[in-house]
Symmetry: C2
Subunit: 415 residues, 2 copies
DNA sequence: CTCTATTAATTCGAGGCTCGAAAAAAATAG
DNA sequence: CTATTTTTTTCGAGCCTCGAATTAATAGAG
């Protein structure tokens, strides 16, 4: 806010603006851009002409024949898929996937592999990621597309600079410098992001009507995750990716959590916690390594069928999440919530206690109870968010600056 | 972030920048401004010349005789105290105070009065504030100073627009439109702010070395309050002033809170909660209306003297605050903490259990334990923060725009 | 088939802004 | 009184946006 401003910052900001409306709409005439941005027609003309000659935009001479109106027909402009490509990597428990995505957001090629992350060292994990990314970089080189950005998403915590994997449940190792490893290998700027933050990015891009300026995405699976959008921006911690909702305290000195502490929300609402409670194993039982989706589904079925430990376990989970959201809402006010991940399949079981707990907290005091939507399939969201994150970076930090030749010869060329 | 930029926005931003370094330093030559802002000497010359002819700055031809160096001597510039004035109002339990403050930040006149806020209606409170502000507006008119901003601080919650008192412990009434009342009466823009947010503003202004980009101010008195600075900006809720730290949940279905809910942190750490626990009154005892500082001091003395219910009460308070901070830090990472208010006098009693609880939560997991500083006297901070808030608004929103004649004839003139 | 109305997009000059280089101003040192 | 040093201002080059005027490209009317 208190930064110096120069003359050409104005153009940069307005180029950003034009690119941002085009990223949302895919196909817009100069007149429509004028209307959406509020810029004057002359400015839009100047900016789009620059972007066209830079190869960042292209004219879409559509065969749609919308020419039913009188007057000079509009020329649709869109992001040029060949302007650049980004690589989006998703690292999860025992699985690695990555995709090469063109500038318009379409997947060109994708790669998947299974790997035993828990048994691997940090170096081995970094090497696996590097190998897969290498394949995609080669692919990009072969197609003569430059790759100005790589984004990696994983479950866990990164530093605030989004460069290092600080901690993740998918490995025993901490402080894996994934960003530096990839950047060193390919000379391409990298961000390492929390998966739930990427879910939030994807939700905002997908349904801006419902997920607007402020909302919360909660991932329910083996552990808990959260991504928050606050005032239109992804909310991250000051030193890390932040948003460790699952490790807010629910019950002081309560159930044993996977993190080694006690009483975390996750220790009541993670799959392992629900499983533990449903099997009457006691709060001190160390968390199971992983629980199959089918087993959780069976638990949910049992809970729906009859009152018993299973149902009580899901209720306790709902209660923990409800109190946690209440505490969160006390700090930053209620906002729509997306319940994402396999746990969303059992949302019918946890919703009641969740709302009941929420009503008992300050979050519900001055404002109406927020809406809850569910989406059990998190992976597409993480992939889409990760790609969007990388593309938005290119929009804002690279193509918003003039004097960049985007369609460079080398696939590895970096500004 | 995605706003349109025009040519003159550049000048506005750079005027802001110049005003912000001058507000921090009080006395700076053009050369020093050049160094601190990074602007070119020509630009600084142009901007300061505008600001001087607008009457916003003044030359301080000092008798300090710093002329021991060779070369043309520097001319010190400073904010012109007569450029404008603001009114800062602090409304607290049974007391109202307000001050007329010149543009350089010095108090011109201040007013105080005692009133029985709990017995008053919202209209009566608004009328009292209006009357006191009226006196100061008259004073400003008499001195031929225009008042472009009023800021009101109080303990409680406002709407996100900082216009309405939504709830406050100082009155039984809710939704008091203080902002509209004052704006209607005087035609001056008004913000209504949470007192702890103003404490945070004041701490940042007072000690930017320690309270930098990220820190938390916790007010311990009858109830609890919190103000947060996140990435250099005051963090407010999306719909309200937010930061209701005291009403994050500590123990599900726990002790009765002043807000009517159960288990809030405040229900363990507010004065009434400590009192209640120290007197073995039980968690369900309705909160006392108010407890004299002397009584709390006596309680603290007893707690220091011997192990017993008093000491346990303070320990429970520390524990509640510690778990609460831990949950907060799970979301946005650890940051320095200021413990402000009368409760800071007993910080020696609560610090141990606080740190112990904090160590049990995720907040302390990846980062070192943050620092804790105390300041028992909150009123000066609230006053200073409130004044600073109003002045900063004038800097940024009014004087950063050119073409404003600041030293208007009428004291009530508003842009 | 030509002409006119209509809508889209571009061009051009006016007016801002920052910056670097050069000039002017104001003091000390000798 | 002159040279030196440091601060501050002035001036032209180079961006940028915007409004008004101009050019481009179509559908419909006669």
């Amino acid at each position: 806010m208190t930064a110096i401003a120069r003359s050409d910052d104005v153009r940069r900001q307005n180029r950003r603006l034009v690119l941002s409306v085009l990223r949302r709409s895919e196909k817009l005439s100069r007149t429509e851009i004028t209307a959406r941005t509020g810029l004057s027609p002359s400015t839009v003309s100047a900016i789009t002409s620059d972007l066209l000659s830079d190869g960042i935009l292209r004219e879409l001479r559509d065969g749609d024949a919308t020419a039913t109106r009188r007057g000079r027909p509009q020329v649709a402009l869109g992001l040029n898929p060949d302007a650049a490509a980004v690589i989006a990597v998703v690292l999860s428990l025992n699985a690695l996937s990555a995709a090469l995505i063109d500038y318009a957001g379409d997947v060109i090629v994708s790669e998947q592999s299974r790997l035993d992350t828990l048994a691997m060292s940090g170096d081995e994990i970094a090497a696996s990621v590097r190998a897969m990314v290498g394949t995609l970089v080669d692919e990009a080189t072969y197609r003569d597309m430059r790759v100005p950005r790589i984004a990696v998403a994983f479950q866990g915590i990164t530093d605030a600079g989004a460069r290092t994997l600080l901690w993740s449940p998918i490995t025993r190792e901490i402080d894996i410098p994934l960003g530096d490893a990839l950047e060193g290998a390919f000379g391409i700027p990298v961000t390492v992001e929390n998966d739930c933050n990427m879910i939030a990015v994807a939700l905002k891009a997908k349904d801006p009507g419902h997920y607007g300026e402020n909302f919360i995405a909660v991932l329910l699976s083996h552990g808990l995750g959260m991504g928050m959008m606050v005032r239109g921006e992804l909310f991250t911690g000051t030193k890390s990716s932040g948003g460790e909702f699952g490790h807010m305290n629910h019950v002081p000195d309560g159930a044993l959590c996977r993190c080694g502490r006690r009483g975390c929300i996750e220790a009541y609402a993670g799959n392992y916690a629900i499983w533990r409670a449903a099997r009457n194993l006691g709060d001190d039982t160390p968390p199971a390594a992983d629980i199959a989706d089918a087993d959780m589904a069976a638990l949910a079925a049992a809970a729906r069928a009859a009152d018993g430990p299973e149902r009580r376990a899901f209720h306790a989970a709902g209660r923990a999440i409800g109190f946690g959201l209440g505490s969160l809402f006390a700090i930053l006010d209620p906002a729509p919530v997306a319940i994402v991940g396999q746990g969303a399949l059992a949302f019918d079981l946890i919703e009641g206690p969740l709302l009941e707990a929420l009503a008992k907290t300050a979050g519900g005091q001055h404002h109406p109870i927020p809406s809850f939507h569910t989406d059990p399939d998190e992976m597409p969201l993480i992939r889409a968010g990760c790609a969007m994150r990388a593309l938005t970076f290119v929009d804002r930090e690279i193509f918003a600056r003039g004097a960049v030749s985007p369609v460079a010869g080398s696939g590895r060329a970096v500004a």
